[in-house]
Symmetry: C2
Subunit: 557 residues, 2 copies
């Protein structure tokens, strides 16, 4: 049997390696258009930034090493430009011309290519993407050679990694993002924390605005934004997203959906004998059921492995699971991570949900180095099924998101999180871990023990309710909402009549710093006959929601 794999990175190479482990007798040919296979594309920005010193360390495998270890026939510089699905052969273009190569099984892992937005002058030689080792080496060289000002178009994961890398190297960096905030998959209140960190790194953030033109100049270009801003730059990194690189396969009659290859639960395309994996295929989101390509390395590698199982052991292979969509990025000293669905996806899917905000410490507060994990969790309104979570913080973010990703995959409901026995010693966690706390808050919200209000409801709360701030007087003085009435939670029971007078029949909307004390206050109030609710995530979340408007909307003494 001859297996031909198109694309020698992530999914394609995982498939080839697994196929060999399952079948010594198969002929396995990997066709890679580029110069390198199995390279560390997620490591490219760190080479530009200098953390990964040698470009060679990004080349995890070579055709020679793959031949020696796994007897794979890896052909770089081989571009598959056509498929004859009837004859079961592919047309391969190389520097020497074209050839036909027949297959018994064909695995398509062509990946994605950079989206090129309609910007005048995008053909400037100062514009580059960051998708290959050569891209990284070239960008790094331009910095080594004295580049001083960079614009990064697109503030997604790779865009921010590139921006930070260039800032680390001393360049003046501006990030331009068409969406309302950086890292568009993050909720805005989480993205605000990342925007603040980017600014701390000296990076200029321009969000909610398009780049409309790049004016070519002799010593530098000028990036022109939709609002007229002109940003000089000697390097411009294009990172506004990717789309499946599938023209040749769609032309061959393999069914696609908005350019992405359609596959079944075993990675089989519409054509017998042809499988597809990775960034080029359409997946069905595990939480929302939304169909879209999921350009992530983990799911690609897994699908490659499962497709090899299906080819060699047809009928007995495990299905490829729907992706949960977990992702993470380091930005300065912060980490941002997310798993499952965000508000936009849940809204698009018409799923009714509740959103919780927490700011627990990553480990025991009395142990040196304690810092907060800013956590958002979405749960299904009627049963608490965990739909998605996001976290931002200095430490412990990856752990909480991985636990929650596991919970989502296992179909846990939020109260199940209370029951998780997570590892606790003072350097690592708390007796009630951040994830346990999320389960407790969710459980309270689901059964009505806790009624919450959201920072986005501030306007109506200010208009129609008493804002009751139960922080200490000292905290209150450092920044309060206009009209807020201050009764520290430790004085609340004695001052209920005073609160009743101030409320004058209106509901009470309680708030504190993080939502813990206001939840206690809510319980006191609701049992005393008040219509009360506690601000989800407290002033920490309120400040993040207000973002740049916080300075104008908070009163300080």
């Amino acid at each position: 049997m001859r297996i031909v794999v198109v694309g020698g990175v992530a999914g394609g190479m995982s498939c080839a390696a697994r196929a060999r482990r399952l079948d010594e007798s198969a002929e396995i040919i990997v066709m890679e258009r580029g110069e390198h296979v199995s390279f560390a594309n997620c490591g490219l920005p760190y080479h530009v930034g200098g953390e990964i010193v040698e470009a060679e360390s990004l080349l995890v495998q070579t055709p020679a090493s793959l031949k020696a270890a796994l007897n794979l026939d890896v052909r770089t510089g081989h571009d598959v430009i056509g498929v004859d699905t009837g004859k079961r052969s592919v047309t391969v273009r190389t520097a020497d011309g074209s050839q036909q190569v027949s297959y018994d099984a064909l695995v398509l892992s062509p990946g994605a290519k950079a989206v090129r937005p309609p910007i005048d002058g995008l053909d400037s030689p100062r514009v580059s993407t960051l998708r290959t080792v050569d891209d990284a080496v070239a960008l790094k060289s331009s910095v080594d050679d004295g580049a001083t000002r960079a614009v990064v178009l697109g503030a997604g994961f790779i865009g921010l990694e590139a921006a930070e890398a260039l800032a680390l190297r001393g360049l003046e960096v501006t990030v331009v993002e068409l969406a309302p905030h950086v890292l568009p998959p993050l909720e805005s209140e989480m993205a605000q924390l990342i925007t603040d960190e980017l600014r701390r790194l000296g990076i200029t953030v321009r969000d909610g605005v398009a780049a409309t033109a790049i004016e070519h100049g002799d010593s530098e270009d000028v990036v022109v934004l939709g609002d007229g801003t002109r940003i000089p730059a000697d390097r411009i990194v294009l990172s506004v997203g990717v789309r499946p690189d599938t023209e040749a396969f769609e032309a061959a009659g393999i069914a696609c959906e908005r350019g992405a290859i359609v596959v079944d639960g075993h990675g089989r395309t519409s054509v017998p004998g042809v499988w597809a994996v990775g960034d080029a295929v359409v997946s069905t989101d595990a939480v929302t059921g939304i169909r879209r390509p999921v350009p992530l390395a983990g799911p690609a590698n897994r699908a490659g492995r499962q497709v090899a199982d299906d080819i060699i052991r047809r009928g007995s292979a495990r299905p490829i699971p729907a992706p949960v969509g977990t992702a993470i990025v380091r930005v300065g000293d912060l980490t941002a991570a997310l798993t499952g669905a965000n508000r936009a996806a849940l809204d698009a899917a018409g799923i009714s949900y509740r959103t919780l905000h927490l700011h627990p410490n990553q480990h025991a507060g009395y142990f040196p180095g304690a810092s907060q994990v800013h956590l958002v969790m979405h749960i299904r309104a009627h049963d608490g099924l965990i739909l998605g979570a996001q976290a931002v913080g200095l430490d412990g973010v990856d752990k909480r998101i991985d636990v929650l990703a596991t919970a989502i995959r296992a179909g846990l409901v939020a109260p199940d999180l209370i029951d998780l026995d997570l590892a606790y010693a003072p350097p690592f966690g708390s007796a009630k871990d951040a994830v346990n706390m999320a389960g407790m808050v969710a459980s309270n919200v689901l059964d009505g023990t806790l009624k919450i209000w959201d920072a986005t409801e501030l306007e109506s709360a200010t208009r129609g309710a008493l804002l009751l701030d139960v922080r200490s007087h000292a905290e209150f003085a450092t920044g309060r909402l206009p009209g807020a009435f201050n009764v520290p939670h430790t004085e609340l029971r004695e001052r209920l009549d005073e609160v009743r007078g101030a409320a004058a029949g209106r509901p009470v909307r309680v708030l504190c710093q993080s939502g813990v004390r206001s939840a206690i206050a809510h319980r006191v109030l609701t049992q005393s006959g008040f219509d009360s609710a506690s601000l989800s995530g407290g002033m920490l979340t309120m400040r993040a929601v207000l973002g740049d408007r916080a300075a104008d909307n908070l009163i300080t003494d």
Copy 2:
């Protein structure tokens, strides 16, 4: 309603706080024998070591803060010495005498007390435990005052934390453990890594031997071991375990099992109106069904909360889950953590299982700072249910154990671990995370793709099989098993006839450094007709199993 809680730490205080949040009208009295409530007992060793500078920071709450925030009536120095379950009252002893306090609901959270082994001279004033803030302050003072030599009796979690703290302070420290290795709940091959780290910290480890006597001296005591060793010490820390502190309650007719209070799934004891939580109760292990006390803070806090629900909302409270038994400890630069059952518990429960060893990196190998997570996982033989896992490493250990603890709680089987979408960017993980890798190896073992042999089978493998070492020649030279035949995995396909000759009809037992290359070699061999198996965890695990015998059992050039 009056709720009386006996014990103001962890479970008891969680119960009292939750009860208040649920019911403003209840009278809630917490009786604490000691001087402090809600103190950070897990933080005590770090105060001795100087990482937690102020003892005050260990006092998370005070009676006054609990009164102000939660209207709790917290009484320290109040020792509950008897219960009249018929009259629903407790007898409380204070400095001023005894009193009766009636209750509607009684919650017992008395905790555990240090086991005092039969050692002559254990009453020396130089012997102390490390269970209270006062213990920590006193031990720290003795160090501040010039103590120079310490013996720690017991190498469990707290014993090792104490030993490291004292070593950090410059003392000469010996740890004495009766069990065959330090951290007895760890598998021996994992414990060996911790023993090595303790030695690196300058701590002398004496395991598999009892302390038999403490000879009192003027300037120092001498700890005498069963083998005659005499160890001078001016401080002796007793940390050989705990047992439930329940005499008063058993005497009152509350059903106990080997000294631990028996409770149902809602924390209810045998007596109406009496609940119990924490270190003093017997739990049914979630994995093995073995009944024993589980002295861990997380389960205690959770049970306290659930008992409050049961008291206030009887009938609608969620049950208290069986503990999974997750624990973690930092030892020097290493972290050791475990979740679920170990070999001893599985053997005791008669559960048939398979054990896997892996040594994956904690994050992308090409990113600076990559280090190995040494991982052991036990899975049920017939279906791959995850039964337990342990990990030791420099970084990323807590995350993997928490993910696996979540998987165990959710009832996942090992192949489900392949499907987890874990957060990947080069600083945080790999496209195939350590946990995914564990799932892949387990899946291969379960379906027969991979046949493994265990390092403990070395003797029979040496006797009846060809040991085939597929590492490189250079690796082979640094330490090999006697009789091992070296064919690098990259040369294996070309040298199969040579292997066939060397095997001479015997099975082939393959090995490499970590088990990855030998698994590939196994696939080559088994498809070529050999009876082959791959060493689980490779030479890294073999060296840990050999432990101190490695030097005598390995040949180096």
